[in-house]
Amino acid sequence: MNIVLELVKVLFAFVLVMGIVPLLIWLERKISAWIQGRVGPNRVGPFGLLQPLADVVKLLFKEDIVPTNADKGMYFFAPLLAMVAPVILFAFIPFGPDIVLADYTFKLQVCDFGVSILFFMAVLSTAVFAVAFGGWASNNKYSLLGGIRAASQLVSYELILSGSFLYILLKWNTLSFRELIEKQAAYGWTIVSDFPFSLLFFILFFIAALAENKRAPFDLPEAEPELVGGYHTEYSSMKFAMFFMGEYIAITVMCFCMSVMFLGGYHFPGVVDVSGNFLNALLGLAVILAKVFILIFIYMWIRWTLPRFRYDILMRLSWHYLLPLTVILILVKALI
């Protein structure tokens, strides 16, 4: 019985992820069209909603080209890693309050470690391998440059992410996402309860998350005017689709993480009790999804508004400004 329930949870999280990705691709196209004064996809299905499905069919039937001199093993492995790592992260996200059945508490979270934030950080830090190995294995100078750029960019901005995680530890004294939400429900969301620090850290985390997800204005690893397609230049068909999906999954999980860390997760004053029944759990899921979609909208808004950074500016931003700021803020917070 227990194993079946656990499997149901895993399946639920997986289906949720796989359902969100096509929606995001559609949203991205619609929002970019809206910002640029175009119509966007509108032929396939109502409002072009079936466009991602058509894309998938197209990608499935495309020829899968493997460069002759590519390093075969790594060339095949890199897209897998790009997709698997962010999907694993979903195991730590609490989607809603517990459902109390007759004699069983059903947690809307795949695995509730006491130290999920630590695991989250750990798995997050493996994101760089897919890009670095994929870029190298393609045996293409553009891919390689994209891979190197990605490696240094991700390493630089990861420090800021870790700094923000440290701040959350200092503030709430817990390493568990679930406890984090419960504490925020009791004492107010992080972003309002500790005003100047929390807002600064939220902004820092958001910028670092943009860079970590290789999103514009930090999408240097795949800057198309300079690098063709960056690390995925040589990838076609479903392998390219896996990189693409991995990117959107990573964005989604990052937004989930931000909403849990700073915006109270599935808690909303007046709407959702932290402990509760089935209806409450559904409401909690709706609340966290709403928060996530607002964050994702900001992601896309930024992407279609700001131009791409120059590479040296990107690096200087991280090492000269953001990282010292993070360290100083943590020191001040620890001393107070």
Partner: protein
């Protein structure tokens, strides 16, 4: 054996085999990047083994420090060398008979230790995260060694910066 134990056994052997195979690849592969790639498999499977022992902190720290830190640095170092554009980037040193002999002796010592250990490594039975305990311990009972280690690391960092710095001649 219950279903749980069977599952744990399957996971253990899968992880152990992956670890062995990847370590073998690390040792024999002549291509630098492929070596780093195999090292990823080694580190991940060992992290998984820590997880099976329910050593949650070691599990996370293994991935965080070794995979996310040291391996990234290794890849960084490889990628910033000037020969990186060459796919057949290789380290010329291959295993000689001396190396194999040393490895065999080391292996024998390890087997000896493993066989003579009084009991197996205890699995964390408390089913409670160890991270909090480790943290408390580090800042109370083992504070002195912890501080000495951190000073040592700081000295290493300063030394590394000093060595890497370009000498400015007046």
């Amino acid at each position: 054996m219950s279903l749980n134990e069977i599952l744990l056994n399957i996971i253990f052997y899968a992880l152990a085999l992956t670890g062995l195979f990847s370590s073998f690849m690390v040792a024999t592969s002549t291509n630098m990047v492929r070596t780093a790639f195999s090292l990823l498999g080694v580190l991940f499977s060992f992290a998984g083994l820590y997880g099976l022992l329910r050593a949650d902190f070691l599990f996370a720290a293994q991935i965080l420090v070794y995979v996310g830190g040291i391996l990234v640095l290794i890849i960084f170092a490889i990628m910033l060398t000037h020969k990186i554009a060459n796919v057949n980037l290789s380290n010329e040193s291959t295993s000689s008979s001396t190396v194999i002999a040393v490895v065999c002796i080391l292996f024998a010592v390890l087997v000896f230790i493993a066989l003579t250990l009084p009991e197996y490594i205890k699995i964390n039975q408390r089913n409670k995260p160890l991270t909090e305990m480790i943290g408390n311990n580090l800042l109370s009972d083992s504070l002195l060694p912890f501080e000495i280690l951190s000073v040592l690391l700081l000295a290493c960092l300063i030394g590394a910066v000093y060595l890497a710095r370009k000498e400015v001649k007046e």
